[in-house]
């Protein structure tokens, strides 16, 4: 089923979403104005807006606001690219070779649900307090997500096509290149998309390691000074940037795997 073709069209969906967000902000603002909640616990949107404008001109802690956004993006992308480069081939190999899967699976399943905050003391001891330890924490979370997704994606290849390919004398390499990989690609993209989300989520943990830059650090630091306005601003920026990253991957997916969702 394609949503575009139903009576509730895409344009309408966007309009309803926008209306929902606008209504939410208006209620939030009205709640603040009529003193329904303590502005310290939930600053009204006007205050967050004022803080945002203040920080666009003055920056946060001597550095421009956009620099904090950029460095956080840099950390996540810097971890995400190697995670994909290592994770996709390794995950596919795990899907193809049961022995490899049997070897790696216990480690993957052990580390994947582990809260990454628990790793911080070890990461500091092993990798220090520089950028490497921050990027590593994000890398490991993204990698594990990609591994699991890609190992499962191999199953997405059509059995009949594989048999047909073998009957026609295709080599293992050709089978991988022309049948397994294209068949798995939609699911690979799904796991990559999940990995970006997971990586972005791990950012706060990563920026707990001796950081003095980045959006995650900004939120943590502002909270020690009760700057709930900056905390909210940081959360909004974290959410929007994560949203944009996700949209980017979806756009890439549409360009690379146009056959996804088609029989």
């Amino acid at each position: 089923m394609h949503p575009e073709k139903t009576s509730f069209g895409k344009g309408r969906a966007v309009a309803v979403s926008l209306a929902a967000v606008t209504l939410f902000v208006l209620l939030w603002s009205a709640g603040g104005r009529f003193g329904l909640f303590n502005p310290l616990l939930l600053p009204p949107p006007e205050e967050i807006w004022a803080t945002g404008r203040e920080m666009l001109t003055d920056g946060y802690r001597q550095l421009p606001l956009l620099y904090h956004v950029a460095i956080s993006l840099g950390r996540v992308i810097g971890a995400f690219i190697p995670a994909v480069l290592v994770g996709v081939p390794l995950g596919l190999a795990m899907g193809l070779f049961p022995v490899l899967r049997a070897i790696l699976d216990p480690f993957v399943q052990f580390f994947r649900p582990l809260p990454k905050l628990a790793l911080i003391p070890l990461v500091i001891l092993w990798l220090g307090i520089g950028e490497v330890s921050k990027v590593f924490l994000i890398f490991i979370s993204a990698l594990l997500t990609v591994l699991v997704g890609c190992a499962a994606a191999v199953g997405g290849a059509d059995r009949n096509r594989l048999r047909l390919g073998r009957a026609l004398g295709a080599t293992n390499r050709q089978l991988l290149r022309y049948i397994v990989f294209p068949g798995a690609l939609p699911e690979i993209f799904t796991s990559v998309r999940l990995a970006v989300g997971v990586g972005w989520t791990t950012l706060i943990a990563a920026e707990m390691v001796a950081a003095d830059t980045g959006l995650g650090w900004m939120v943590l630091n502002a909270s020690s000074y009760m700057r709930t306005d900056i905390v909210m601003l940081g959360i909004i920026l974290l959410g929007l940037t994560g949203y944009m990253l996700d949209m980017l991957i979806v756009a890439l997916q549409k360009a690379v795997v146009p056959w996804d969702g088609k029989a």
Binding site: R61, V209, A210, Y225, R227
Partner: protein
């Protein structure tokens, strides 16, 4: 059978009414429970936790809640989960500027050598930190002391590489050689010395240049207004624990360390690095003062808040014209009467 049931019902009803009126007769001045926020630093009032004497003195159930840092404890006060908290002057200054509904009721201790700047052996002066990496717990009194020290001793803060870390992580970074100095409190400062560091400075040395670092007790305004007698009783109980500590520092340090699960020798050293101004003395304008006029403590808070504004942590529009209205020495006055 029926009459027995009736009699029991009447008896129960009567006793409930009696109990309720008894509570009312007490001026309804006692809360159902007092929730205290304590940090991991060894302090005399922990004696009152260890043997339950504080609960006994307040004559109401006391709930002790542990927090990793002052800002965390103050956030819990903001959320209405804590009635009385101990926190450092830096997070309290930030909380007051951000209009947290709290009052300062007493100084719980002045930081002298309980917080120190520990550096590698080849660094012999504060100025020697230029070009090196220093770590500190962000938003703490130690953070403030470090920046004050750089200022007092003429070191260029922009040339000192700063690494904000939680105290336990500072030790890991030190062992790896990632940091060359750390401004931190005990027992972590003692551990750094054991790992080859030496003392460059203690916070008390900054006092002559006007930088006072101290801990205070804060109370939520609502609690203070509803139960003033309990707040005064708390301060009397606090004074008792300080007196017990002063009477026998060794034994006190031992039971405080045991209660917090820490090393007794390090706890003793931390406790010895604190000054405990007498409650009566705190009514002097050098400390809290009487009434709502400016005092030493209110001026210290103003200095600290201005410092946080210059650092970019607080917004200038949040700065109150005076911190005196946030200080309420009436509870000390009642406690020492």
């Amino acid at each position: 059978m029926y009459s027995l049931f009736l009699r029991i019902t009447v008896l129960v009803a009567l006793s409930v009414v009696f109990a309720a009126s008894a509570a009312f007769a007490a001026g309804s001045s006692k809360p159902a429970e007092v929730r205290l926020a304590y940090l991991n630093g060894p302090r005399p009032w922990i004696l009152g936790k260890a043997d339950g004497s504080l609960q006994k003195a307040l004559a109401v159930p006391v709930k002790w809640v542990n927090f990793a840092s002052g800002p965390d404890a103050l956030k819990a006060v903001a959320a209405g989960e804590i009635d009385i908290a101990r926190a450092g002057s830096v997070p309290v200054a930030a909380a007051l500027a951000r209009k947290l509904p709290i009052e300062i009721i007493a100084v719980s201790g002045v930081i002298d050598s309980s917080e120190r700047l520990i550096a590698r052996k080849d660094i012999t002066s504060v100025k020697g930190l230029e070009g090196r990496t220093v770590t500190y717990p962000p938003g703490s009194t130690a953070h403030y002391a470090l920046l004050a020290a750089l200022n007092v001793y003429g070191a260029d803060a922009s040339k000192v590489k700063q690494a904000p870390l939680k105290p336990a992580d500072e030790l890991a970074a030190w062992k790896r050689g990632d940091v060359d100095a750390a401004y931190v409190w005990g027992p972590f400062s003692n551990q750094l010395e054991a790992e080859g560091g030496h003392e460059l400075l203690k916070s008390g040395q900054l006092q002559k240049d006007g930088y006072y670092l101290f801990n205070v007790y804060v109370v939520s305004k609502k609690f203070a207004a509803s139960y003033p007698d309990t707040v005064s009783a708390f301060l009397r109980a606090f004074r008792d624990t300080v007196n017990r500590y002063k009477a026998d520092p060794d034994a006190a340090a031992k039971s405080i360390a045991a209660e917090l699960g820490q090393d007794a020798a390090a706890a003793k050293q931390t406790l010895a690095g604190l000054e405990f101004p007498d409650l009566k003395e705190q009514l002097d304008t050098k400390w809290l003062g009487l009434g709502k006029s400016e005092s030493g403590i209110s001026k210290s808070f103003a200095d600290t808040a201005r410092f946080l504004v210059n650092l970019g942590e607080l917004s200038r529009r949040d700065l109150p014209s005076s911190f005196a209205p946030f200080i309420n020495s009436a509870f000390i006055a009642a406690a020492v009467r």
